[in-house]
């Protein structure tokens, strides 16, 4: 039942007063409209900085998460007994809601972007770790033996045979992690980490604002998803012939 907010003075107060107050003459942002094109056109540049911050949050968090998860996966690939505990540990980090994680970290790292990045990269660990381990495990034993027969060392087998063949799974994990991180990074504002959550939180009952900021986040997620898909296709040439 909430009536649109009416600014104190719109035009002259007089005979046309009632008409002035109607939504025909009010500026769109003072009405209940779903999307105000004029406002959006004039204010779109306000979203530049939050978008760049958001991009930085995502890229740094995923890069950090990938570095850690990939290293853990290589370690677990060599020492099999590490797999269950590492899966459980990354699983716990994945399960803890990011927003709770931000505030759990506050006493340790304080407010700011670092806190947001730590929580966001912790969230990506499980997805990337699990996919990398599965990808490495899916390499057929015969391929490994052929490589050994050709005289490759263990290190060469890992980097020249196993990791390249695990690329489809690794890229799939990276894609899921990146797209999810773009969405979750909107919550980084609660940790003082900036990003597209900042305008959403600042104008939380202004639909145009939410649609613009949310729309940028969705477009960013789709762009990352498509870019990683393209990268996967480029780096797995043998799959291009098979897949539809």
């Amino acid at each position: 039942m909430s009536s649109p907010v009416t600014p104190a003075a719109v035009g002259e107060v007089g005979e046309g007063f009632l008409k002035e107050r109607s939504s025909d003459t009010l500026p769109c942002q003072a009405t209940d409209a779903l999307f105000c094109w004029d406002w959006a056109k004039e204010n779109i540049d306000r979203y530049g900085t939050p978008t760049v911050q958001h991009l930085e949050l995502v890229v740094i968090s995923v890069a950090l998460g990938f570095a850690v998860a990939f290293a853990l996966a290589l370690l677990a690939h060599r020492r099999r007994w590490l797999q269950p505990p590492l899966l459980a540990a990354t699983g716990v980090l994945y399960t803890i809601p990011s927003i709770a994680f931000f505030f759990l970290l506050l006493p340790v790292t304080g407010r700011g972007r670092d806190t947001a990045i730590i929580a966001l990269s912790a969230y990506t660990l499980q997805i990337i770790y699990r996919n990398t381990v599965i990808g490495l495990a899916n390499v057929p034993g015969s391929v490994r033996e052929a490589a050994r027969g050709m005289g490759l060392t263990e290190r060469q087998i890992l980097w020249k045979v196993e990791v390249p063949l695990a690329r489809p799974e690794i890229f799939a994990g990276l894609q899921i992690a990146t797209v999810s991180t773009v969405a979750i990074a909107t919550l980084a504002v609660f940790a003082g980490g900036g990003g597209l959550g900042t305008p959403i939180k600042a104008g939380i009952d202004f639909k145009t604002n939410i649609i613009i900021a949310g729309g940028i986040a969705i477009l960013m997620a789709i762009a990352f998803g498509l870019a990683l898909l393209a990268a996967q296709r480029f780096w797995t040439p043998w799959r291009r012939a098979e897949t539809t």
Partner: protein
């Protein structure tokens, strides 16, 4: 001066635990105490209720559709696209938009949260059923099972790990987002987390601890349920 300093005192684990178990004085509630076990329990149950309601709604919508499409083997593109697009939905924008567009309240928030749960459940139900070996399904059909029996006795048991992966993914997303329920006018543990001026920094930390514990408890509960529902013949020998 001293009072200001105290209210800005950094949170500590000890202080947060104290907040969970005993009511604390707050500087802005006019002498009314905040926190304590009763209030923590009340908000925890509120968040749990919200989570289960939304989860139930997303199951109701997504599970039958996913199972049906998976069994038919049609609509793969639809299921996969829904699954991928779902992951890209920014939680904060979704909650804020639903609150601004259709209003605040439990019902609207439940719908918004269910929107987050539908994609993983739908996509995993489709993939889980669809990837069941077609030879197995043909064998079941040859034994005279009806289509519904095939789904219930063959495909679903074989798809349990994938189905539960979707369910658990949905649960994590929903319980996490239920934390920002106060933005849509519904109480949850987010009241502590987002209400530092009322609950103090210890209250914020206490809220974060309880939210994390709630999410982990749900995860363990569903992992246990999955083990219970896994057919004895399919129990993995190694994990």
């Amino acid at each position: 001066m001293i009072a200001t300093f105290l209210s800005l005192a950094p949170a500590s684990i000890g202080g947060a635990l104290e907040f969970i178990f005993t009511p604390q004085d707050s500087s802005v509630t006019g002498g009314k105490q905040v926190g304590g076990f009763d209030e923590v329990l009340e908000l925890t149950l509120s968040q749990l209720e919200l989570t289960l309601l939304a989860l139930g709604l997303s199951l109701l919508v997504a599970l039958p559709l996913g199972l049906y499409l998976g069994h038919r083997g049609s609509g793969e593109l639809f299921a996969v696209v829904i699954g991928n697009v779902g992951r890209a939905i920014p939680e904060l924008a979704l909650i804020a938009f639903m609150a601004a567009a259709i209003g605040v309240g439990v019902l609207n928030l439940t719908i918004a949260l269910a929107v987050l749960g539908i994609p993983p459940i739908l996509a995993n139900a489709f993939v889980g059923i669809h990837q069941v070996d077609r030879a197995t399904v043909d064998a079941a059909r040859g034994m005279g099972m009806t289509e519904f029996e095939i789904l219930r006795k063959v495909e679903i048991p074989l798809a349990i790990p994938t189905l539960f992966a979707g369910l658990r993914g949905a649960t994590i997303a929903i319980v996490a987002t239920a934390t920002i329920a106060p933005l849509a006018g519904v109480e949850s543990l987010g009241d502590f987390i987002l209400g530092e001026n009322v609950y103090g920094s210890n209250g914020v930390l206490a809220g974060a601890i309880v939210v994390a514990l709630l999410a982990l408890t749900l995860e363990f509960a569903f992992a246990g349920l999955q083990r219970l529902l896994t057919s004895p013949g399919l129990k993995p020998r190694t994990t």
